[in-house]
């Protein structure tokens, strides 16, 4: 019987980490795409997520014996915080203008054609949500974790996750209807 994530995590050696990587790389990579709307960035974010996992392995208690909820959370944090500040993130998100860029009409037209439209629109709105709601949306709606898994990794009650998702949906719907 293969080792569980928790057993591999507890071993903490490189072969164990490689096994965890092989087990979850594809899921994290897909989640990273949903966080970034860029496959090339998803690759970078996946790499950074696993490196962060390795570095923090002794500090983490796994949720429900699966490393995936925590890996999703790391990916979300990296995407929101320092990864965004690094050039690799900026390069990949270049179609989202910075505050100091005011594209003209022609650029807007090209950009609109050039975007991964649906996902970027979603991410734009998700990024505007309050932090608690955004974390819940990223884990449950984008990451497809259960509300129970999200609750454990966020350290809140499951009902709180459900209410955050509900509020977030209302906000998203309001934005869509504008």
């Amino acid at each position: 019987m293969p080792d569980t994530d928790a057993e591999l995590w507890a071993r903490g050696d490189k072969p164990a980490f490689a096994a965890l990587f092989d087990r979850h790389a594809e899921a994290v990579w897909n989640h990273a795409y949903r966080l970034t709307a860029s496959w090339s960035l998803a690759e970078d974010l996946t790499s950074a997520t696993f490196l962060a996992a390795w570095r923090r392995r002794s500090d983490i208690t796994l949720v429900r014996d699966s490393a995936l909820p925590w890996l999703y959370t790391v990916a979300g944090n990296l995407a929101r915080t320092e990864f965004r500040r690094l050039g690799r993130f900026r390069r990949a998100l270049q179609r989202i203008p910075g505050d100091d860029v005011v594209p003209d009409h022609a650029e807007r037209v090209v950009a609109s054609v050039d975007d991964d439209r649906a996902l970027r629109r979603v991410l734009d709105v998700v990024a505007s949500l309050p932090r608690a709601e955004r974390e819940a949306v990223e884990l449950v709606l984008l990451g497809e974790l259960s509300t129970a898994e999200a609750a454990e990794v966020l350290g809140v009650a499951e009902v709180s996750v459900r209410s955050r998702i509900s509020r977030a949906r209302a906000r998203l719907r309001a934005v869509e209807e504008r």
């Binding site: 980490f17 090339s40 950074a48 962060a52 944090n77 390069r91 990949a92 975007d115 977030a168 719907r173």
Partner: protein
């Protein structure tokens, strides 16, 4: 209709990971590819260099070393990455007063400058009256007087300035002996943020949008949650002006961003020149060269350069006449992608390069100063293949001679 259909339309289905992507990730994460210098060693080297250079009031944050101490002993793990600890690559150095003509560039009387904080790609001058000025390769940013310190954690500290490039400078309160910062979710995921203490001040070289600061005070630790969105915005806190160096502005912006990201390959930025670039568009690929055989690749977005990358590691594809050194791309809509290619050519002999994708569409590469750049739109999604697999490159020489390569 279900609520998810209303709120999150058209989420892409999960896809199997192509073998080449898995292999690249494995190499990067598990360390089977090129070696990277351990970050702790790099930080230590930077600290030693700062001290050797005469830094007199330098206190490197201890949290980074502590957070890694138990990881850096025992088993050999995967390589470390600068993206793990926020701002860990941004070793801080401090020198008294201002260096060179920095005081004049900032408009400060030299005698007023208390010290200069050195960070990757930028310097921050601090006056005795808590005025601040950040100098980067392309800009000078001043604080606006009168905004005032923002108190945090009661009297444990205050935030004095947030520069336009993400640096936060604060002051420790009386008796506060240590400052730590983390970012991450509330439970389980704690990513340390590098903090350096400079006399009574503390510097966060690369602030996160949300952080928890912990101050060690005589009465115990005091915590403060900091959201940059709740701080004064940049227009209120700072005045930024361009200060472009000589040469191509897009190259300068690319190098500025790269240096601020801590990219050491830049070296002397004045060596870099523009090479080939794809046609002006929302996105364009700009190839840069240093005149000594090195190339770097920068995406220019809405006319502004972003952080660049040096040429990819060998093996490159091609030969002495044409060498593909950089491939990147981005997903456009779910059924399309764009691939950007860059590299070097021997322009004494090569007069043209054509790239034909597997669908039969041909793009002419732009050639300049021994470099080329090409853009291919309308490509299939990246996930099903290598970015360039099946591309055919035709290299044209004088006298109607050509050779072709099929890329992997």
């Amino acid at each position: 209709m279900s609520e998810p259909d209303l709120t999150l339309p058209d989420l892409p289905p999960r896809r199997p990971m192509p073998p080449d992507v898995r292999e690249r990730l494995r190499r990067g994460v598990l360390g089977t590819g090129r070696a990277r210098a351990p970050l702790a060693a790099a930080a230590a080297a930077a600290a030693v260099a700062a001290l050797a250079a005469g830094g007199v009031i330098f206190t490197q944050s201890v949290q980074f070393a502590e957070s890694n101490r138990h990881h850096d002993t025992g088993v050999v793990g995967p390589p470390t990455s600068p993206s793990v600890t926020v701002g860990a690559q941004a070793a801080v150095s401090v020198v008294p007063k201002a260096t060179g003509d920095d005081a004049a560039r900032c408009g400060f009387p030299p005698a007023d400058v208390r010290f200069t904080i050195g960070l990757p790609g930028r310097r921050i001058l601090v006056t005795g009256a808590d005025r601040f000025c950040e100098i980067t390769y392309t800009s000078i940013t001043h604080d606006k007087p009168g905004i005032g310190p923002v108190p945090v954690a009661g009297s444990a500290a205050s935030l004095l300035w947030s520069s336009g490039s993400g640096v936060i400078v604060g002051r420790k309160g009386p008796g506060t002996s240590r400052v730590e910062a983390v970012t991450g979710a509330q439970v389980g995921v704690v990513l340390p943020v590098a903090v350096s203490e400079v006399e009574d001040l503390f510097v966060i070289p690369q602030s996160a949008t949300w952080m928890v600061l912990t101050f060690t005070t005589p009465s115990g630790p005091a915590e403060a949650e900091i959201s940059t969105a709740a701080l004064p915005d940049q227009a209120s806190w700072s005045v930024r002006q361009d200060a472009m160096p000589p040469g191509d502005p897009a190259v300068a912006q690319c190098l500025d961003e790269s240096m601020r990201d801590g990219e050491s390959w830049v070296g002397d930025p004045l060596r870099w020149r523009p090479g080939a670039a794809t046609a002006a568009d929302v996105n364009a690929l700009l190839v840069m060269h240093d005149g000594a055989g090195r190339t770097a690749y920068c995406q220019v977005y809405h006319g502004r350069g972003s952080s660049a990358v040096p040429e990819d590691d060998p093996p490159h594809q091609g030969d002495a006449m044409f060498r593909l050194r950089h491939v990147t791309g981005y997903a456009s809509d779910p059924s399309q992608a764009t691939v950007l290619l860059g590299g070097t050519v021997d322009t004494t002999q090569v007069i043209g390069v054509e790239v034909t994708d597997p669908q039969g569409r041909t793009a002419q590469a732009v050639l300049r100063d021994g470099t080329f750049a090409a853009r291919l739109d309308g490509q299939p999604p990246f996930t099903a293949r290598s970015l360039t697999k099946g591309f055919v490159v035709r290299v044209l020489f004088r006298q109607n001679v050509s050779t072709t390569f099929t890329l992997e």
